[in-house]
């Protein structure tokens, strides 16, 4: 049997806009696979992520949307904002459905029924789907190395059903399932599941990376790297949800930067060829976690000891990235130094350039 050459789309990597002194985004493709008229909340972080991801992927793309805000709010009344083929799948079957689409195209190409370039197959799963309900199916798709990109748009909760805690909800985050009270003053007691590392460790042949809407070009490049990678790729993207995090809508991108600058969302890439983490990403500055926390109502109940715990967590992440910690951040990890939120303000004065 004659072998059939699979034509692949190789998407160019965008130049960084902040090289040099100017700010000017690179030329982006003109087509809009994601259009307005959807019913997500104003300022919705997952939607921003959707916009950037689909812009980076282009028109020859197939989207899979397991249940979650990006399905429900986007596609009621049989009406979707997707200008490319899109399908909803049950929340637990994100990985199996996506694997099926990829396998179908592989088969169609093999049988000569599909001519043209292999489409970008992207699954957009919420953290509830990716980290809890659909974890097994996603792990299966990654392990079998289907040629697809699975994105977890991480809004750190089950948003669509009215803000319940997921395994990605941060320590101290208030949700309807983790309300603070006299017995559990911090709200959520557990630290979040380190999902992206699980994926990298468990499926080392996959391209795995973390990203944030606060760094659009970096995010779009990681999407393209994931799509260019032959085989399965996994991306976890920080996407703030104004409804669940309780913040003012204009801050969506700002939070995406702050969460990285505060060390709560380490940015890295897993290189499947070298089987190694790439920790070279550096935000412009380092800040105490309180700067990130104070913008959000879901952390409004925290006491000094909880903030210190979160700082300790952030400091561990910085150490893991190989960044030298400034004294002020080490101090801020001790509750004694943060008697109340007011003294946290002192630590804020230490915005540090790396």
């Amino acid at each position: 049997m004659a072998t059939i050459e699979v034509q692949r789309q190789i998407l160019p990597i965008l130049g960084s806009p902040n090289q040099g002194a100017r700010f000017y985004n690179p030329e982006l493709p003109s087509s809009e696979p994601f259009v307005p008229g959807h019913r997500t909340c104003a300022g919705c972080g997952p939607s921003i992520q959707y916009r950037m991801t689909s812009k980076a992927a282009g028109d020859n793309t197939i989207l899979v949307g397991p249940t979650g805000c990006m399905y429900v709010a986007n596609s009621s009344y049989l009406c979707t904002p997707y200008n490319v083929p899109w399908a909803h799948t049950q929340i637990g079957s994100a990985g199996s459905f996506t694997a099926g689409v990829a396998a179908a195209y592989e088969a169609m190409i093999r049988k000569g029924k599909w001519k043209g370039e292999f489409p970008n197959i992207i699954c957009e799963a919420g953290d509830g789907s990716a980290s809890d309900i659909g974890l097994a199916s996603i792990s299966g798709a990654l392990y079998r190395n289907h040629d697809c990109l699975i994105i977890c748009y991480d809004n750190e909760q089950y948003a669509n059903t009215g803000i319940q805690a997921s395994s990605r909800t941060p320590y101290g985050g208030m949700t309807t399932f983790s309300p603070p009270g006299p017995l559990v003053p911090e709200g959520k007691k557990l630290f979040p599941k380190d999902l992206a590392r699980m994926m990298a460790a468990g499926h080392p042949h996959c391209y795995v990376a973390t990203a944030s809407v606060g760094y659009p070009i970096d995010l779009m490049n990681k999407v393209r790297k994931g799509l260019n990678h032959k085989g399965a790729a996994y991306l976890m993207v920080y996407t703030p949800c104004q409804k669940g995090f309780v913040y003012e809508t204009p801050r969506s991108i700002d939070l995406g930067r702050l969460v990285v600058e505060c060390g709560l969302y380490p940015m890295w890439e897993w290189n499947p060829e070298k089987r190694a983490y790439d920790y070279s990403f550096r935000p412009a500055s380092m800040r105490p976690v309180s700067e990130y926390l104070k913008l959000q109502g879901r952390f409004g109940h925290l006491h000094a000891e909880h903030i210190a715990s979160l700082q300790k967590f952030a400091n561990e992440q910085w150490r893991m990235l190989g960044v030298q910690l400034p004294e002020a951040l080490i101090q801020a990890a001790d509750a004694k130094n943060l008697v109340n939120m007011a003294s946290a303000a002192q630590a804020e004065a230490v915005a540090q350039t790396i």
């Binding site: 700010f23 307005p36 008229g37 300022g43 921003i48 979707t80 599909w114 700002d254």
Partner: protein
């Protein structure tokens, strides 16, 4: 098989309640005009960058820096030429009020605007044909008296408007203080010559050695021209009213420099020279004195320290570097010597702050100091020579009396430049003279065409507050420095001290510009909108559109706009009885479209602080 477009069965493509056609790139999802969720609307509103505002002729600085950073040098040159006839000159001599106002100065270091301007000016000088053309002849004749910056600018703008312009200049060469004031090592004569050639290329006639009041009378001006611009500058030096000021060896700054500039100087300086005065002219005199052979040059000022001197700090620094000494807090009370100056008598002095009487208080009781010199150059300002002007048009400051349009009463005469700006609170400098000449030219045109004159008080929103911009997008970056000739090699030559930027340096420096308050098409709003409902058919300022049918008013775009040209405007007052839900489920897209048209007008409302 197409991979484009959601496949919808035929029977579902008809719009009816609850079911909508496939979304399209152009229109989005018609059935859900989510714009009616919005209470604040983002609007694009360019603001005036502080640099443009501070520039005496309001050059579109942000605009040409933006073009330079994209390599569109010729466009940039054409843009600067709208307001500035000779960027090659101001790129060298301007005291750059724009750089003092530059927002980047609050962040790290101001943009080196003047250096980029010079880069563009030199580029223009090299062109065989200038980009600027004379306007279609309108058959009207205008005389411009004086060929300094103000006259040059007025003549240039009038020629562009189609007037037949004649410049009358009393000196043997055109240029005003650009030639007979500003020294060659700041502005080489050939640069100025080339700019004056450009005026001739525009069809302007320049008559040198032609003095109004001597060669041409006031009545002849009135008779022979449809209108006239008086840009005669301040040609007479002030004296210090010291005893013995008429002795040989006493020079005045203005004629000293003027004669050198015109090539008619016969001055031979002795080894020790004192310069009286603390302003820019005094600095030029002191530095020129070194180049004319003086060995020790001392500048004597009433100001108590360098900070108080009304001088450009860089020039002061360069002067001290060249070896000029400073002596502060002294006034010359007498010039001593037998027929020829041998020494100065100095007394302690300070500024009293008095406005009317002499502003300088001299402590005559203190012991006098004798300061031996061979020459003294007095550079304490200049005044006008207006004997030829009818008295009704003179004012108590000894300058020309004008209305707020620059016009002399009800006549067709206008005046511009130093001759009206002296004592008006405006600093006397080339760029202010250029701006004045430009504005007066436009008003002259209005008068001759019988149009109403507009006072120049348009309300402007100058963006000076960095909080209105998003600084996270601008990494710190040092200013590109122009190289200077080493001080030792400067002392005896007329070579230009400050060197030009290379092309790469000019682009690098222009790239540092924040583009304050003016969209530079960075695409950020376009990229971060969650809907996304920001469209741009073409990537250019002024072409970004917010699809108000869909914008939910999240204001992410406003927050993330690096340049601060997006702002929020309150959409509707809920107490005015406007029913918003009537369009919530508009089955046809028209309904919302009509409302949107109404809402568009809300953009005229003042911005609310959000």
């Amino acid at each position: 098989m197409s991979t484009k477009g959601t496949r919808i069965p035929d029977w579902l493509t008809v719009p009816f309640a609850g079911i909508t056609p496939a979304p399209s790139q152009e229109k989005g999802q018609d059935l859900f005009p989510t714009g009616n969720w919005r209470s604040i609307r983002p609007v694009y509103r360019d603001k005036l960058p502080p640099c443009n505002n501070a520039c005496g002729t309001n050059e579109k600085i942000q605009g040409y820096l933006d073009l330079v950073k994209r390599g569109k040098y010729l466009d940039a040159y054409a843009l600067i030429k709208e307001d500035m006839p000779f960027p090659s000159v101001t790129g060298r001599v301007c005291y750059h009020p724009c750089e003092q106002a530059c927002n980047r100065g609050q962040y790290d270091e101001a943009i080196s605007i003047r250096a980029v301007e010079r880069f563009l000016g030199d580029l223009g000088q090299a062109l065989t044909h200038d980009v600027v053309k004379a306007g279609k002849p309108n058959g009207k004749k205008v005389a411009v008296v004086g060929s300094g910056p103000a006259g040059h600018s007025a003549a240039y703008q009038l020629a562009r408007l189609g007037y037949k312009v004649t410049i009358l200049e009393k000196s043997p060469k055109a240029g005003g203080l650009n030639r007979g004031g500003i020294p060659d090592w700041v502005l080489p004569q050939d640069v100025l010559d080339r700019e004056i050639e450009r005026l001739v290329e525009l069809g302007i006639t320049i008559k040198t050695n032609c003095e109004v009041g001597k060669d041409v009378s006031w009545d002849e001006l009135k008779k022979n021209y449809d209108a006239c611009v008086l840009a005669v500058g301040l040609t007479e030096p002030n004296s210090v009213r010291a005893e013995g000021e008429n002795k040989a060896g006493v020079l005045y700054g203005l004629p000293f420099l003027r004669d050198i500039g015109m090539g008619t100087s016969k001055v031979k300086l002795g080894p020790r020279v004192a310069v009286i005065g603390g302003g820019n002219t005094a600095i030029d005199c002191a530095r020129e004195a070194l180049r004319q052979g003086a060995v020790e040059v001392t500048m004597i000022t009433v100001e108590a320290n360098p900070k108080e001197m009304p001088a450009v700090p860089e020039d002061l620094h360069d002067m001290v570097e060249e070896g000029v000494d400073l002596m502060h807090g002294r006034a010359v009370t007498a010039v001593l010597g037998n027929g020829k100056v041998e020494a100065l008598q100095l007394h302690p002095a300070r500024f009293s702050g008095a406005i009317n009487a002499s502003p300088i208080t001299v402590d005559k009781d203190a012991p006098a100091q004798r300061f031996a010199v061979d020459n003294v150059i007095i550079a304490v300002g200049q005044h006008a020579s207006l004997a030829w002007l009818p008295a009704e048009f003179k004012n108590e400051r000894g300058t020309i009396k004008i209305d707020r349009f620059g016009r002399l009463g009800d006549t067709k005469f206008f005046a511009a430049g130093d001759i009206v700006q002296l004592g008006s609170g405006q600093p006397l400098m080339v760029v202010n003279a250029v701006g004045d000449g430009k504005r007066v030219a436009f008003n002259l045109d209005k008068v001759l065409r019988g149009e109403a004159l507009q006072p120049r008080t348009i309300p402007i929103d100058v963006i000076v507050d960095l909080n209105r911009m998003n600084m996270t997008y601008f990494p710190h970056f040092p200013r590109v420095q122009q190289t200077l000739l080493p001080p030792v090699s400067r002392r005896r030559t007329q070579d230009e001290v400050i060197q030009a930027l290379t092309e790469e340096q000019a682009v690098e420096e222009a790239s540092r510009c924040f583009s304050c308050g003016t969209c530079n098409a960075c695409d950020n709003c376009y990229l971060v909108c969650p809907e996304p409902c920001i469209a741009r058919p073409e990537r250019s300022n002024g072409l970004y559109k917010i699809l108000v049918d869909y914008c939910k008013g999240c204001r992410v775009c406003i927050e993330e706009c690096p340049t601060g040209c997006l702002e929020g405007v309150p959409e509707l007052d809920f107490d005015t009885g406007v029913v918003r839900m009537d369009t919530a489920f508009a089955i046809s897209p028209g309904l919302h479209g009509r409302q949107a048209e109404e809402l568009r007008k809300l953009g005229d409302r003042p911005a609310k602080n959000i």
